[in-house]
């Protein structure tokens, strides 16, 4: 029964093609009881603060006392004429591209390998998930040392090759590649977990039937697994891009935004140039710009890519 159901649920008919049920009293009871708690909590602690933070962006405010110096859109002017901010935007874009091209495929490949029956599957999953669990302050610190030209892994490599010490984190052109590597290391396990959960929702009987019909492993993957994993992949891409836009925690201990502000992301820019300089209005402006970018992306993505989910 279930096997037939899943076969019918393949990509030709969207999984969400539920017949539109008439709203019954029971249905309304669900809406009234199930929704308000989440909505209330969210409104109080997320939505209202966002609006207020947006309001602060029109002020020159140092965070002490109430905001007093109204300056209209000047913060936004400073923002877009600041080359470091523009560079941060570029950096965020690089993280997105890198994640989509390298991180997600890697996560998927690993997930396929560890979702099923393989010796030590649970241990592998745990190991790959571990970087995500490790607090950013520790991760950034250790990687800072990994890249150290004298004592780190990079140092060991240059010594082995007989080359002079190379300080990747002091290199204006290439320091950002260090950030990409650490982002990859830290988050691919997260996406792997999402894919594992998705894979485990796929009925094994389907795949066995296909195998018995003579389909190869690759064919099984391409024609059954991947399409059924579609919704989860689209979600994972969504989270990946949103996450890439908000990368911050590891930047601080790893590079501090340097050298020469070449490794900032929008949120680290917000932190270093706004919050730590007591320019709360300015940091709110950065937050608003980031928010608008995220909303635009989310809106477009959900309309177009996730239309049927």
């Amino acid at each position: 029964m279930a096997a037939v159901t899943y076969a019918e649920a393949k990509p030709t008919a969207p999984a969400s093609a539920e017949p539109a049920r008439r709203m019954t009293l029971n249905g309304w009871a669900v809406v009234v009881i199930f929704l308000p708690p989440a909505l209330l909590l969210f409104t109080v602690f997320v939505f209202l603060p966002i609006v207020e933070a947006g309001w602060y962006s029109f002020f020159n405010w140092n965070g002490y006392g109430p905001p007093e110096k109204f300056i209209g859109l000047k913060n936004y002017g400073y923002l877009f004429s600041n080359p470091t901010f523009i560079r941060s935007l570029v950096n965020n874009g690089l993280i997105i591209v890198f994640s989509l091209l390298v991180q997600l495929p890697l996560a998927l490949a690993v997930a396929v390998m560890v979702a099923g029956r393989i010796v030590g599957a649970v241990w592998f999953r745990m190991i790959f998930f571990l970087p995500y669990v490790l607090a950013p302050v520790a991760a950034g610190l250790i990687w800072h040392f990994m890249f150290d030209g004298d004592y780190g892994v990079v140092g060991a490599v240059t010594t082995a090759l007989g080359a002079p010490p190379y300080f990747l984190l002091a290199d204006k052109t290439w320091a950002f590649s260090a950030v990409l590597i650490v982002v990859l290391w830290k988050y691919f396990g997260f996406h792997m977990m999402l894919y594992v959960a998705g894979l485990q929702g796929i009925d094994g009987a389907l795949l066995e039937a296909a195998e018995m019909d003579g389909a190869s492993a690759w064919q099984r993957f391409w024609h059954i697994t991947l399409p059924l994993l579609g919704p989860m992949i689209r979600l994972s891409v969504f989270f990946s891009i949103i996450g890439a836009l908000q990368v911050f925690d590891i930047i601080v201990p790893l590079t501090g935004g340097g050298p020469f502000e070449t490794t900032n992301t929008m949120v680290s820019f917000l932190y270093f140039f706004g919050l730590t300089r007591m320019r709360i209005g300015f940091s709110s402006a950065v937050g608003v710009v980031l928010f608008i970018i995220c909303v635009t992306f989310a809106f477009g993505y959900q309309r177009i890519v996730m239309r049927d989910d």
């Binding site: 159901t5 029956r117 669990v133 999402l194 959960a197 949103i242 919050l275 928010f291």
Partner: protein
């Protein structure tokens, strides 16, 4: 137990010879590379500061067992661990409950404004907590939640609702709609369906959301910093401050401390993995 479930659900039952050995080897290499920095973190907890700086990736010349031992036998470690667990437990529970409820509503019911509300909740994903920290502080203070763990728990739940709702709704929709139709024809209402069918069949995704929510709460720093004042309520991220100074930080102790605080997160992960398996078995029997 793992084996049985894996046989039922695995994408490929008999792993073919050479390909699987190569795959396994690749996994081992990757695992090693991934584990290396984590391992280095733990290892550096056994060194003293000077050795950490000059020999961060070698074995300690002198194993400073006292670093770890002092932390484990000190009162502070257990106190901050307890606080972190408390906060994380309530955050995860509330997140799961509220997200699942909202996700269920969005998955099965169509009503005026449902798409709008769905998008509304997702705003939480699109905004880093740090930007709104001042207004959040004012709000928490206004509600009299300063100094209370709930001042940390509630905003954390609010921010993780977006991801929870998205993931869980997605999983709920993957369940065959015929099940719901059949259940309703049998006279089962939405609430009972939610409790007795939807939830048990959604083990993997609920466990996943639980783990993600746990980790986010576990590593939370900014919110507890702003809300909590008394050291007796600090989670471990604030307890870490004791090892950090204005000019100098005892990094080796920081790393030892952090290593010891990863353990509960790992335990949580392993527990969640078992829950996934249990959920799978239940689902298989059902179908």
């Amino acid at each position: 137990m793992t084996e049985a479930a894996d046989v039922i659900r695995s994408p490929g039952r008999r792993a073919g010879g050479l390909a699987s050995i190569v795959a396994f080897a690749a996994l081992v290499v990757l695992a090693g590379a991934v584990l290396f920095p984590v391992f280095a973190t733990a290892l550096n907890g056994f060194k003293d500061l000077s050795e950490f700086r000059t020999n961060p990736f070698g074995l300690p010349h002198v194993w400073q067992w006292s670093n770890y031992w002092d932390i484990l036998t000190g009162y502070r470690y257990w106190q901050v661990l307890g606080n972190s667990l408390l906060i994380a437990f309530f955050t995860v529970t509330l997140t799961l409950v509220l997200s699942a409820m909202a996700a269920f509503t969005f998955a099965h019911l169509r009503f005026f404004g449902d798409r709008f509300l769905m998008s509304y909740i997702q705003l939480g994903l699109l905004f880093p907590l740090a930007t709104a920290i001042v207004p959040i502080f004012i709000r928490i203070r206004g509600l009299g939640l300063l100094e209370s763990h709930w001042g940390v728990i509630l905003p954390q739940v609010a921010f993780s609702l977006a991801m929870g709702v998205l993931l869980i709704r997605n999983a709920f929709k993957q369940l065959p709609s015929e099940l719901l139709d059949a259940a309703m024809m049998d006279g089962c209402g939405y609430f009972r369906y939610f409790l007795f069918i939807t939830l048990p069949l959604s083990g993997p995704i609920l466990a996943t959301v639980a783990v993600i929510s746990f980790v986010e709460s576990w590593n939370g720093y900014l919110l507890p910093l702003i809300v909590l004042n008394s050291e007796s309520r600090y989670p471990w991220t604030l307890g870490l401050m004791a090892y950090q100074g204005q000019y100098m930080t005892s990094w080796q102790l920081v790393l030892a401390f952090i290593t010891l605080t990863i353990l509960p997160a790992i335990l949580m992960f392993l527990m969640a993995q078992r829950w996934i398996v249990a959920g799978l078995t239940a689902g298989a029997v059902k179908s």
